[in-house]
Each structure stands twice: as C-alpha cells, then as structure tokens.
C-alpha cells in the first residue's frame, strides 16, 4: 500500500513504540547480567552498570555444572538435527517420489501423529525410556525427537515439487535408486532441508518439558530446565539468573541473525501452504 509522507512518519512512530516493548526485555537481561547485586536491586533503578561486572557469569559456571549443561544442549541439538535430516529426507523422498504398496495408509499414520498434541505421548515415552534404563542419560534428551512426523511431511512436500524429468534422466544414466536419491534429489532439496535444520535446531535448543521429565540430575539436563533450577537455587540473585538467560539465548539468536531470511521465510511458507 502506498502512503504519503505524513502517513509514513506515523507508521514509523507506531512501529518504533512497539519495537521498544519487543526489544526491551533483551536489553534489560543483558544490562542486568553485568551488574553487581547492589546495582541490580537499586531503587531508583540503575540502568547501566558502572563496570562490566562478570560476577553473575562466573557464579553460574563455578556453582552450577553450567558448562556441562551447555555441552549437553549442543550435543542434543546436533544429534537431533542430523538424525532428522537423514531420516526425514529418506522417508520424505520415498513418500514424495516412490510408489509402493501401503504408501497412502502409512502416510496417513504420519499425518495423524502430526495432529495429536505432543503431550499425549509423554507418559508412555517416559516409561519406555525408563524400561530402557536410560533415565538421566544424555541419550534420553533426544531419543524420541529423532523421529519427526513434521519433518517428513515438510520434506515430502518439497520432494514432490521437483520435476519428474530429473529422475528419468538419472535412471537413463544408470543410477540406482540410492544414487538417484543421494546424488540428484538430495542436493536439489537443499532449501527444504535448510528449513528443517532451522526449525529443528530452534526446537531442540529451546526444548523444556521433555528434558524436565526424563532427566532430573542437573548435569544431565539442557539449558531450559537448567534455568528453572538456577531460578530455584538463586531466588534473589538476579545477576546470575540474567547471565544464565543471556548465555542460553545467545547461540540461537546469533544463528537467527545469520539465517534470519530462512527462519522467517520458513515460517511464512508454512503459513501459506497450511
């Protein structure tokens, strides 16, 4: 829509006011994390810390297994992303491009998993992990998340949109199905795979309820539940809490700023196609 100059200024003012509310918590979190305890609880408020005080950061690393939690989060995220890319692209390719008996019935099964609210699986999943003797292990953090109905659906849509001639050319060139998949189709599905990587990385990094349930030891959990523990342990220590919050959002925020176009377009596309 075309606006005249005065209209544009009004639009900027409204958007900037909204932006203050959106961004303020991030700035406040960052500023508080560098304050001393006295500065943090000062009335009237102290906006900027006098010095960059690292007390909050050193405390969470010395008094909590924060480094271990950080490594757990990284491991869990990487394993989940890699497994989902491999498993979902293979299955997505088969559902999108191959013919086999029972295909529609099996695919319907995947769609139904997609439609059920995730919490309904939790109690049995917990019991399975328990029977496998995996409670309180790193593997428990990601095991059910390796298999994604959403990712399979996403990549199936993507594989379906590729032209059929490519496959025929590959067959003429003497590729078998595995070669056609690996050498021709997979590279072409890259934009779809990038979307899946981003969605999965955001999900795995920020996961909360599942790790909260399966892993009760602090050194076996990931950042979300660890923040909850941090909050319980240092009820009145806001510099430590904010330092933990800053560290837990930084990697995903950096990733977001690098890939913001893919992040946003992935979401936008999901909306249009939905």
């Amino acid at each position: 829509m075309k606006l005249r100059k005065r209209g544009r200024i009004v639009v900027h003012i409204i958007l900037l006011l909204g932006l203050i509310i959106v961004v303020f918590p991030f700035i406040w979190m960052l500023l508080t994390s560098f304050k001393t305890h006295a500065e943090a609880v000062q009335v009237p408020p102290c906006i900027f810390p006098k010095h960059l005080n690292l007390e909050g950061y050193t405390k969470i690393f010395t008094e909590l297994p924060f480094l271990q939690v950080y490594c757990n989060t990284i491991i869990s995220t990487i394993v989940t992303v890699v497994a989902q890319v491999v498993l979902c692209s293979m299955a997505g390719y088969a559902f999108g491009r191959l013919e086999f008996p029972g295909k529609n019935v099996i695919f319907l099964l995947i769609l139904s998993v997609l439609m059920v609210p995730g919490q309904i699986f939790l109690v049995p999943q917990y019991l399975i992990i328990m029977h496998m003797g995996l409670l309180d292990t790193i593997a428990a953090l990601f095991l059910p998340n390796l298999f994604s109905a959403f990712g399979t659906f996403l990549l199936r849509q993507f594989f379906m949109s590729l032209p059929k001639e490519l496959e025929e050319a590959a067959v003429l060139d003497g590729c078998n199905q595995f070669q056609t998949f690996g050498k021709i189709m997979l590279p072409l599905a890259k934009p779809g795979i990038v979307s899946l990587v981003i969605f999965t990385a955001k999900f795995a990094w920020n996961d909360f309820m599942w790790p909260l349930i399966v892993n009760t030891s602090l050194d076996k959990t990931i950042l979300g539940p660890a923040l909850s523990a941090l909050q319980g342990q240092y009820t009145n220590d806001y510099t430590g809490q904010m330092a933990g919050a800053v560290l837990s959002v930084i990697p995903i925020v950096i990733l977001f700023f690098i890939f913001q176009k893919q992040f946003i377009e992935g979401v936008a596309q999901a909306g249009i196609k939905g």
């Binding site: 829509m1 075309k2 606006l3 900027h12 958007l15 909204g18 932006l19 509310i21 959106v22 991030f26 406040w28 979190m29 943090a40 009335v43 408020p45 498993l87 293979m90 299955a91 191959l98 013919e99 086999f100 295909k103 099964l109 998993v113 059920v116 609210p117 919490q119 309904i120 699986f121 109690v123 049995p124 399975i128 328990m130 298999f147 399979t152 199905q177 920020n206 909360f208 309820m209 979300g224 923040l227 909050q231 319980g232 806001y238 809490q241 933990g244 919050a245 837990s248 959002v249 925020v253 977001f256 700023f257 992040f263 946003i264 979401v267 936008a268 999901a270 909306g271 249009i272 939905g274």
Partner: protein, 308 residues
C-alpha cells in the same frame, strides 16, 4: 511376429523383479523413521488411551479401573479451574495477539523504509528460549525491585506484586504469552498480505479509497484464508501453554492455583504426584477438546473464509 512364450515370461519376471526391488528400496527408505514413530509415538498414543482407564501405582503397574479416572476428572474442582484458566488464556491471548500482529503486519505492508529490519526484530522473541523469556519478564515484574513498578511510580501508581498476587498473576503471564507469539503470526500474516495482487490496490486507489478503506475492503477479505490458519494454530498452541507458566509461577507461589492450566494439571499429576492414569485421562481429554475445536472451526470457516 510373436515373442516366444518363454521369452515373454522371462520379460515379465524381470519386470516384476525390478518392481519388487523398487518396493523393497522404498521400504528401506521409510523403515528407520517408521520404526521410531511406531515405538515412540503411535504405540504411546494407544497406550495413553489405555492408561486413561487404569490406575498406575508408583511401580508403574497398571490396574484396569474403567471410567473412574474420567468420573474423577469431571468432579474434580482442580480440573474445572484448570479448564477455566485455559479457556480464559485462549479467549484473551488469541484475539489480542492476532489483532496486534495484524496491525504490525499491515504497517509493514506499506511503502516505508527499513521493513526487513523491523520484521527481523519483531520476530526475535519467537526464536528465543521461553524459559529465558519467562525469567526476564519475572524480573521485570518483580514486586520489590522490578523495573515495571519503578516505571509506574513515575506516574504515581503504587507498587504491586504482579506475579505472586493471584489477582494479577495470570494477566501478567498472558502479556508475556502475547509478547512471545506475536512475531510468529505477524510474519505469516505479512506473507499473506504480500500474496495479494497489487492490481486490487490500484483499482481501489483510482476509485478514491484511502489506506484505511483499502485495508478493510481489499486486504482483510482477501486475507481470510491466512487469518483462518493463524486462528487455528494459535488456539491449538494456546491450549498447550506450559513453559512460561511453569517458569514464572513457582510451585510454592500463592498464585499457583489461579494460573494452573490443563497442561500444568497434567504435568503435576503425571510426574509430581505419580498419578499417571489420571494424567493420561487429562491428556486424552485435552486431545478431544482440540479435535472438537478444530472440527468446529473447519465447519465455521465456510461462513467467513474467502477462497477465490
């Protein structure tokens, strides 16, 4: 000329062999995923439904007790309060959240500069960890040292314990819920708006429609399919709110009851009280609510959604 019988059979056999090999290959492609989905999702779904008719003791032995969990659920004041809170959450946060994201999307759909910078920053809360977000807002709302009270004091508004006082707590958590979901809907709505052909606006402006009229007469009607999608997904995720409330309202908080949603009730029963049978009934009930609401919306959409 006809192909000798034996050779034709050979060809058919060869063709069949290739076909079976193709099938086998397809099954190999889907097998790893399907095994995982069956073990961790499909069987657990059936188990949850079965568990909801049982009593599970602390050693996880289940005894069949028929409809008792459901009977208990419908007479449990805790359940009704949680359901009421969840409905309140959905009824308040979904319309306000969609309205705000619609306004921001409409403003970003104009010919102003810096659109992609705005879009990126408004999306920031969507990617950040709900647990961290909840912690920061809790600190902002803190009754003693929180910046909100200090800011309000400038206008002579007295300090409140925003998140420990049951009167305010749920409303404050709702503000955070709206804040964190807004960017997501904004991006989807904006994409929908950008899919509307510019020629509609040209015609509208030739006919003398001002930007407001253009928005209500052109944008809004053509945006209804996107609005429908946003409404559907927002309601579904509204029923599943958990992280923010769990983080902001601690176990011992005086506001615990007034902020307990269905999923909090489920979590408490399944993992704090070891009431896994009852919790499964709650999960099945939540599933049925979502199913019914989705079905009703699918029916109602014919009345207000335009597909051209």
């Amino acid at each position: 000329m006809s192909i000798p019988n034996g050779q034709a059979q050979g060809l058919v056999r060869q063709k069949n062999k290739a076909k079976y090999r193709g099938w086998l290959c397809a099954y190999l492609f889907i097998a790893p995923l399907m095994i995982g989905l069956i073990v961790f999702y499909i069987i657990p779904f059936i188990q949850s439904v079965l568990y909801s008719f049982t009593d599970i003791d602390s050693f996880n032995n289940a005894t069949f007790i028929g409809m008792a969990n459901y009977q208990k659920m419908f007479t449990d004041p805790d359940m009704w309060r949680s359901l009421g809170n969840t409905l309140l959450w959905v009824v308040i946060t979904v319309p306000i959240g969609i309205l705000l994201s619609l306004i921001v999307a409409a403003l970003l759909n104009t010919n102003i500069k810096g659109k992609s910078a705005y879009r990126t920053l408004y999306f920031l809360p969507v990617v950040t960890m709900p647990a961290a977000i909840a912690m920061v807002w809790k600190w902002i709302f803190n009754g003693q040292f929180g910046i909100l009270n200090q800011f309000l004091a400038l206008f002579g508004i007295p300090a409140h314990n925003w998140i420990t006082d049951p009167k305010y707590a749920f409303w404050m958590v709702m503000i955070v819920g709206i804040w964190s979901a807004m960017g997501y809907n904004m991006v989807i709505l904006l994409a929908g708006m950008q899919g509307i052909s510019g020629s509609y606006y040209e015609v509208a402006s030739i006919e003398g429609a001002n930007p407001f009229q253009q928005f209500f007469k052109v944008t809004l009607p053509l945006l209804t399919p996107t609005l429908f999608f946003v409404l559907l997904t927002s309601i579904i995720s509204g029923f599943q709110v958990f992280d923010i409330i769990y983080m902001m309202i601690g176990k011992g908080s005086p506001a615990y009851e007034s902020t307990q949603t269905i999923l909090m009730l489920y979590y408490r029963n399944a993992f704090d009280y070891s009431n896994k049978g009852y919790a499964s009934a709650v999960a099945v009930f939540l599933f049925l609510i979502i199913l019914v609401i989705t079905a009703v919306q699918m029916k109602l959409q014919k009345k207000w959604v335009n597909y051209d």
